[in-house]
C-alpha cells in the first residue's frame, strides 16, 4: 500500500442550474489574458450536446486517454518515438475553430460614432487579429439547445442509444437535457503528464493537483491532444500550455476554488480522498465492465487503522487524515456509492466525481394531450421500478459516467429515488411507512444514511461542503529555500514576466 492524498471535487448534477457562474468566476480570475481568451478551464455544457471543444469525446479523432493493450496501458496518442516524429505537426490536435474564435466588441464605436439617424452598434471583432468577424460559435454555443439535429444529435456519448430513443429525444414533448460542468479532472493516471515530451507537466504529491511547469513547457502540445477531456489549452500568445490549477493558491490559503466557491446551486463539494498509488496501474487496465468497481477500490477508507498507519508512514499529516475522514466527497463516492467519475473508459482515473442527474418521467401523447407516461393508479414507486421511463436514457448516462455499464447508473438512480421517496414521506406524513424502510434496504441504505444523504445533498453549510485540509505552507520548499527570493516578483512566482519568447 502506498497511501497518497488527493484533493477532489464532487458535482451534484441534480442541483446544477446551468448558470455559468463557475465559468465566469474562473474566467475572471485566471484566463482573462491575451492568448487565453478562448480557454475555459471551467465550462458548463448542455448534454446531450457536442460540448466544448466541439465533440471533445470523439477520441478516434482527438486521440485522448489510454487504451489497454496486453494487460497494460498505452497512450492512445503515441508511443515514445511516435511523439518525437509528430513534433512538427500533430494531426490529433483540435483547431481554434473546434473551440471558437475568441471575440470582443468594439465598444468605442458606441461613443465615437458621429451623430446619425441610427443607433450606433458595437461590431464584433476577433480577439486574435482585432479584425471584424462574423461570430460563428462561442463558449456554450449550444446552451440549452437540446433536441437539435446539429448539436444534441452529434453527441458522441449517444453511441449505443437505440435509434428509436435518439429520435424521441428530438421530439418536442420529450426533449431533455442536463448540465455538465467540467474542470480538469486532476487524474491519478494523467495522460497529459505521460504525453509531455519535455516532462513539463507533473502531479503534485501533496494534493494531487496536476500542473504545467511553464518554464519547462516547449509548446509541443502533446498534452492538449492526450487529455481526453481536452482540459489542457495552448496559449497561442505565450507559446505555453495552460490548464486548471484547482485554484491551488486559494486551496493553500484555506479557500475553495473560485468555481466551487461561487457556485449558485451549491452543487460542488470539496474534500480529501486517500488512495493507494500502488493499485493505479492495475485498476486502470481492467476491462471496461470492471472500471467503476476498481476505480472505487483504489480509494481507501480513512477510518481503517491500517490505512491511517500507512498514510502516516508516507508523510501525510494528521490534519489531512482528519480532513479525509470528514470529506463529503468520500461519503458520496465510497460510503454511499452515489458518485462516478466522468468517462472512466478513458482510464486516466479522473478524480472529479459526478452524481448523475435524475430526470422526469417520459411524456406520452394521449388523445392529443401530453401527459406523463404513468398508468392510472400507479403510485410513487412507478419511476423507481421503471427507470427506463426516465427521460434521460440510462444508456446515455452510462456512456458518460460508467463506461457504458448501466448497472452502476441504475443503482445510483434507485438510491436517489429511494431517498427522495423516504424524505417525501417524512416531510408530508411525518413518518415513513415500513415499506419505504424496506425500499431503502433494497438499495443498500437505511434510515440513517438516507437522512445523511438528504442533509448533505440539500442543507449543507459551507464548512460541510468544503472540507479543506490545512496546507501547512510554512513547511513548503519555496518558503524554506529563501523567502526573500519571491519579493517583488509577479503573482505566482514568475521570475520573468510571462511574455512571448522571441
Amino acid at each position: 500500500m502506498n497511501v497518497k492524498a488527493q484533493v477532489s471535487m464532487l458535482f451534484h448534477l441534480d442541483k446544477c442550474i446551468g448558470c455559468h457562474t463557475c465559468s465566469v468566476a474562473c474566467k475572471n480570475l485566471w484566463t482573462d489574458r491575451k492568448g487565453a481568451e478562448y480557454m475555459w478551464w471551467n465550462n458548463v455544457e448542455t448534454r446531450p450536446g457536442t460540448g466544448y471543444p466541439t465533440r471533445w469525446e470523439d477520441q478516434e479523432r482527438l486521440r485522448g486517454g489510454w487504451e489497454p493493450k496486453d494487460g497494460s496501458l498505452r497512450l492512445k496518442l503515441h508511443g515514445r518515438l511516435g511523439a518525437l516524429l509528430k513534433l512538427f505537426y500533430n494531426p490529433a490536435l483540435p483547431d481554434i475553430k473546434d473551440y471558437y474564435e475568441p471575440f470582443t466588441f468594439r465598444y468605442s464605436d458606441l461613443f465615437d460614432a458621429p451623430a446619425a439617424d441610427d443607433q450606433p452598434t458595437a461590431i464584433p471583432v476577433s480577439a486574435i487579429t482585432g479584425e471584424p468577424i462574423d461570430i460563428e460559435s462561442g463558449p456554450a454555443w449550444d446552451d440549452d439547445f437540446s433536441g437539435s439535429g446539429i448539436y444534441a444529435r452529434n453527441d458522441p456519448s449517444l453511441a449505443g442509444v437505440p435509434e428509436e430513443t435518439r429520435r424521441q429525444l428530438e421530439e418536442l414533448e420529450r426533449i431533455v437535457f442536463n448540465y455538465l460542468p467540467r474542470i480538469c479532472n486532476h487524474c491519478l493516471n494523467p495522460a497529459c503528464v505521460a504525453a509531455c515530451p519535455s516532462g513539463a507537466i507533473y502531479k503534485r504529491e501533496e494534493d494531487g493537483v496536476v500542473l504545467v511547469n511553464e518554464n519547462r513547457c516547449r509548446a509541443w502540445r502533446m498534452c492538449v491532444a492526450a487529455c481526453p477531456y481536452k482540459k489542457v489549452y495552448y496559449n497561442w500568445n505565450t507559446g505555453k500550455s495552460e490548464k486548471c490549477i484547482l485554484c491551488f493558491p486559494r486551496l493553500e490559503t484555506g479557500q475553495a476554488p473560485a468555481c466551487a466557491h461561487s457556485c449558485v446551486g451549491r452543487i460542488r463539494y470539496m474534500g480529501v480522498l486517500l488512495y493507494d498509488a500502488d493499485r493505479i496501474p492495475e485498476a486502470a487496465a481492467v476491462p471496461d465492465a470492471d472500471l467503476v468497481g476498481h476505480h472505487r477500490e483504489v480509494i481507501l477508507d480513512p477510518f481503517d487503522p491500517a490505512v491511517i498507519a500507512e498514510a502516516r508512514a508516507s508523510g501525510i499529516d494528521e490534519d489531512w487524515i482528519r480532513a479525509a475522514q470528514r470529506s463529503p466527497v468520500y461519503r458520496f463516492v465510497k460510503e454511499w456509492g452515489l458518485a462516478l467519475p466522468l468517462h472512466p473508459e478513458y482510464r486516466t482515473m479522473a478524480m472529479m466525481y459526478y452524481i448523475p442527474p435524475l430526470s422526469p418521467v417520459m411524456s406520452v401523447v394521449d388523445a392529443d394531450l401530453f401527459r406523463l407516461d404513468l398508468a392510472d393508479g400507479e403510485g410513487a414507486f412507478e419511476l423507481f421500478d421503471r427507470l427506463d421511463a426516465s427521460r434521460l436514457p440510462i444508456r446515455y448516462l452510462a456512456n458518460l459516467f460508467s463506461a457504458g455499464e448501466e448497472g452502476p447508473i441504475r443503482a445510483i438512480l434507485r438510491k436517489m429515488l429511494a431517498v427522495r421517496l423516504y424524505r417525501r414521506a417524512r416531510t408530508v406524513e411525518g413518518e415513513a411507512p415500513a415499506d419505504l424502510e424496506r425500499l431503502l434496504e433494497s438499495v443498500g441504505l437505511d434510515a440513517e444514511s438516507a437522512e445523511a444523504i438528504y442533509r448533505l445533498s440539500t442543507l449543507p453549510t459551507l464548512e460541510e461542503r468544503f472540507v479543506l485540509p490545512p496546507y501547512h505552507r510554512e513547511v513548503a520548499i519555496e518558503s524554506l529555500a529563501d523567502p526573500l527570493s519571491h519579493k517583488g516578483l509577479t503573482g505566482l512566482g514568475f521570475v520573468e514576466p510571462p511574455a512571448r519568447g522571441e
Binding site: E205, N215, T238
Partner: protein
C-alpha cells in the same frame, strides 16, 4: 575581410550562441518555446512545417557527416553512381526543405492570425534561412559534387576553427555563392540565442527514457530530504 568573415566572426557567433543561449535557458526559461502556431492555422502548416523540418534536418545531418566522417563519405563517393545518387538525394532534400520554407514564409506573411504572432526577429530568421536554402540549392546545382569537395575544403577549414588555429585562406578561391552560404551559417548561429531558433536544442530526446508519470513534492518530507521528481507506474 576574409579573416573577419571566416576567422573572427565564427568565434563571435559560437560564443554568442553558447553564452547567450545558456543565460537565456537559465535566467529566462519561460522564453524558450517552439512557439507553435498550429492552433491558429493548420492546413498550410501541415505541408510547410513537415517538409521544411525534415528536409533541413536531413541536409544538416549530411553536412555534419561530411565534417565528422569525411573519409567514409569519400569512400562512398568513390563510385560515380553512388556519388550521383547522393548528390540527387541531397539536392532533392534541399528543394524539399526550400518548398516547405516558402510555404511557411507565405503563410506567415499572408495569414492574418499568423501575422499577429510574427515578430521582426521571426522575419529576420526566415530571411537568413531562405538565404541558406537558396544558396545551398544553387550550389548543389551550379557547383556540383559538393559532397566530395566539401571534405577537401570545408572539413579542414572547420577543423582548423575547432583547433583554434583558423585557416580562412582555405576558402579564398571559392565562388561567392559558396562563401555566402558558409558565412550565412554563422549568421544563423549568431541569431540562434536571440530568436525562436533556440527550440532547436530543446528536442525532447529525454522522452525516450523518462518514466511515464511525474510526481513532484512541494513540501519537504523530512529534515534534509531534497525535493525530487519521483517516478510512478
Amino acid at each position: 575581410m576574409t579573416w573577419f568573415l571566416f576567422a573572427i566572426f565564427p568565434y563571435i557567433a559560437v560564443t554568442l550562441a553558447v553564452a547567450v543561449g545558456v543565460v537565456r535557458a537559465v535566467r529566462r526559461p519561460f522564453s524558450v518555446s517552439s512557439l507553435s502556431s498550429q492552433l491558429l492555422e493548420r492546413r498550410w502548416l501541415y505541408w510547410g512545417s513537415q517538409s521544411f523540418h525534415y528536409g533541413i534536418l536531413l541536409v544538416l545531418g549530411g553536412h555534419l557527416l561530411a565534417f565528422l566522417l569525411p573519409g567514409t563519405l569519400r569512400a562512398w563517393n568513390g563510385s560515380p553512381a553512388r556519388q550521383l545518387a547522393l548528390e540527387i538525394t541531397g539536392l532533392g532534400l534541399g528543394l524539399y526543405a526550400l518548398v516547405g520554407a516558402l510555404i511557411l514564409v507565405l503563410r506567415r506573411l499572408t495569414n492574418a492570425r499568423i501575422r499577429v504572432v510574427t515578430s521582426p526577429m521571426d522575419l529576420l530568421v526566415w530571411l537568413a534561412l531562405l538565404v541558406s536554402l537558396v544558396t545551398g540549392v544553387l550550389t548543389a546545382g551550379v557547383h556540383r559534387y559538393g559532397s566530395t569537395w566539401f571534405t577537401g575544403v570545408f572539413t579542414p577549414y572547420l577543423w582548423s576553427l575547432a583547433r583554434f588555429a583558423p585557416e580562412p585562406e582555405r576558402l579564398d578561391g571559392l565562388p561567392w555563392l559558396v562563401r555566402l552560404h558558409a558565412f550565412n551559417f554563422f549568421v544563423l548561429l549568431a541569431l540562434f540565442p536571440f530568436s525562436r531558433l533556440v527550440h532547436l536544442v530543446t528536442v525532447p530526446v529525454g522522452y525516450l527514457v523518462r518514466p511515464w508519470q511525474l510526481v513532484v513534492a512541494n513540501r519537504q518530507r523530512s529534515a534534509g530530504a531534497e525535493p525530487s521528481a519521483s517516478a510512478r507506474n
